[in-house]
Amino acid sequence: MYTASFLQDPDFIRALYIVAFAFFIYGLHELNHPRTARRGNRIAAVGMAIAVAATLLIEEVGNYGLIAVGVAIGTAVGVPAARSVKMTAMPQMVALFNGVGGGAVALISFVEYRRTLELGLGNPELDQLIPILFAAIIGSVSFWGSNIAFGKLQEILPGRPIQLPGQQFINAGLLAVAIGCSIAIAAGTESQGLFIVILVAAALLGNMFVLPIGGADMPVVISLLNAFTGLSAAAAGIALDNVALIVAGMLVGASGSILTQQMADAMNRSIANIFAGGFGGVSVAPGAGADGEQKPVRSTDAADVAIQLAYASKVVVAPGYGMAVAQAQHTVRELADELEKRGIRVDYAIHPVAGRMPGHMNVLLAEADVPYDHLKEMDEINPEFPQTDVALVIGANDVTNPAARENEGSPIYGMPILDVDKANQVIVLKRSMNTGFAGIDNPLFYNDNTALLFGDAKESVAAVLAEVKEL
């Protein structure tokens, strides 16, 4: 059969892979700009379809019935989840999707190892065995780490750091077990049992490694785990001699690493420092300015806020996770529309790590139809605060904390922040006087030019909006 042999020609399949790579790379390139990003994502998806179709043509691929079952289950779970997830819950969803990818890598490496043993060939050659072991460890870490990240963001687990005594030693021990067993296998021991020990040790490591990280650092964690899954997929590609896995996996490994680095830079902290845990740990030493005395805060009401806003000429909104939780973004947009009708300029100050993912606020505000040229990044908006009449802080805390600038004793000292305190008036919408995710007190609240409007962010904004309309 000429056609069949042509379609199954390994060179033809590899040529299709090359087409798929072009789609991936061009798609990622198009993700550079908001105008072309959606098309870029679709182009990458087409690349994926080509890679999958090409793989199905490979002569050795069989058992199409079981493949269909797996794909059907995956589609039945993935599509409704992706369709129904709320914009505010995106970070959890990305963590979950990342986790299942890592889980798939770990399972595939395990089965590949079992397969070579069952063939009676002994351990695979080292140039396959080492990538298999690497993929198994990293895949398992990524699966479990992502699940913990999901649990924390979904608030199934407490968002605060959970630390055990000797945490670092436990982690080092688990890593040593995983690597030690890997070396034993690489040295010639043929043992599925050891392989399972590796998977379990890596699973525990994934748990232990994410548990001590506070909610505020979750964006960095998810990004790093995303890079991990990519790297493990590339390793699996070397083990299975499949160039599509190598290229696509490595593209993700590289991009995820860069993103992780950028996010850590935005917080002026090293990645190692974040993963040592304890940001927002319970044992925060009070610094010079925060000596524990009860300081008065000024609270205000919706009518008062409305008057300040209506007579401002420039308003900057600094949103944070509180806005996401309260689903307040649409009401915020309505308020901004109402103000803009009166000729007031309304911009949004977006801190790189506001919310629980980089760009989290952008997505939420975009959902509410806020034009993206009103979203200002930190470096762009900070010089504008002294000319700002009212800074409206909605559910953001740590990213506006001036202690990061001023108080060397503060655990967030050195992190770049939004300089909202330099605005003429600062209005902070807050649920209560609780500290932020990092558990650090915020001197902003006690400033003379700060007033606090307590309550649910959405209800507060709606009340202010109603008052503005009355004026």
């Binding site: 908001p34 069989g62 993935g78 990342n98």
Partner: protein, 92 residues
């Protein structure tokens, strides 16, 4: 393919990844993370390659799970990214 050829491809792919990604603005970081997340769903191919070659219930079961996981990663990942990006539009 020999190991060195594969390592060559690996290193070059890493540099392409760095180059293509380092230009993405903050605004698009979440969709970017989500899109690259979908791309590593390519691990699905590993399941496809192996499932015809293994015997035994356990191996097949594990691979069906892996294929389901990979599919969730791909379709879910691209779909949520599309939903996010649908919302990025300029108001004229």
């Amino acid at each position: 393919m020999d190991l060195l050829t594969e390592l060559t491809i690996l290193v070059l792919a890493a540099f392409v990844g760095f180059e293509v990604i380092s230009k993405v603005p903050n605004t698009l970081h979440t969709p970017l993370m989500s899109a690259t997340n979908a791309i590593h769903g390519i691990v699905l191919l590993g399941g496809l390659l192996l499932i015809g070659e293994v015997d035994g219930f356990l191996n097949k079961l594990l691979l069906v799970i892996a294929i389901a996981f990979g599919t969730i990663n791909i379709v879910g990942g691209f779909l949520v990214t599309d939903r996010m990006l649908e919302m990025f539009k300029r108001r004229d």
